[in-house]
Symmetry: C2
Subunit: 148 residues, 2 copies
């Protein structure tokens, strides 16, 4: 179990913070820089799998950034980070807030899991999984209003 | 990067297979046995976080098992497993099929990410994240009909 003063945990925390800052600034180039070349995402939006070509393409995430009028605030809560050798994972909740270009106010809690590898001495995200649960009552509704 | 003949990868594959078999047999005790005592799930159904008390409680998963008339087949597709020291992760798609007690036929593709730790010499799941994406068109519909 990694201690809080573990330098790998600190580096991974900094990498995840780079992503948070990139969302806030809607900086597509910085956002995709946290990923390894072969990273694969399971994201809030379809498709089932975001392949590495799209994950690493600034234009892909820019299309989403362009739907926001405000900065995109995504604040991590209760993140657990574990490291072994050149492999690590992190998971916790994210609280995303802001205003879309159509005026919609976003106030969304979702779950985030990141899997990381150290490549050539640098930690990179190889897999990110973001989601909300859905109702099991047959209405097939994504639960976008849950709070922790 | 772990090689296919890596013994840790083989052990983790066997652990995940134990879970698959437990679903098929609706064997709640076996299903919860793959988890560490402090495991936390982000699952298809709410709440946002399934805490360790529920993750490790056979009665909790049994309630879900009891909604199925058939065995629960959940077949992994394209699973990537990486190991570093006592830390590992695995991610890929799952194809879940079967029949619920109300006659509903389930044919669901979802995304699954597992985070693992070796505890006292034995690999255990410390975190599992299962999900489908949702529509971003304002209808807030969980996408239960996507195919890879």
């Amino acid at each position: 179990m990694a201690k809080p003063d573990n330098p790998d945990v600190a580096q991974i925390g900094a990498l995840l913070n780079t992503f948070t800052t990139a969302l806030r600034n809607k900086d597509a180039k910085s956002a995709v820089s946290v990923y390894a070349d072969d990273a694969v995402d399971f994201d809030l939006a379809p498709p089932l799998i975001i392949d590495s070509k799209r994950v690493r393409d600034p234009a892909y995430i820019q299309t989403w950034f362009d739907t926001w009028a405000s900065p995109i605030e995504s604040t991590p809560h209760g993140v657990t980070i574990r490291v072994g050798g050149d492999i690590a994972f992190a998971y916790g909740l994210q609280h995303m807030t802001g205003t879309k270009t159509d005026g919609e106010k976003v106030d969304l809690w979702f779950r985030a899991t990141a899997c990381l590898e150290r490549r050539n001495g640098t930690w990179k995200v190889v897999h990110m999984h973001n989601s909300v649960p859905f109702t099991m009552d047959g209405s097939e509704r994504a639960l976008l209003d849950l709070k922790p």
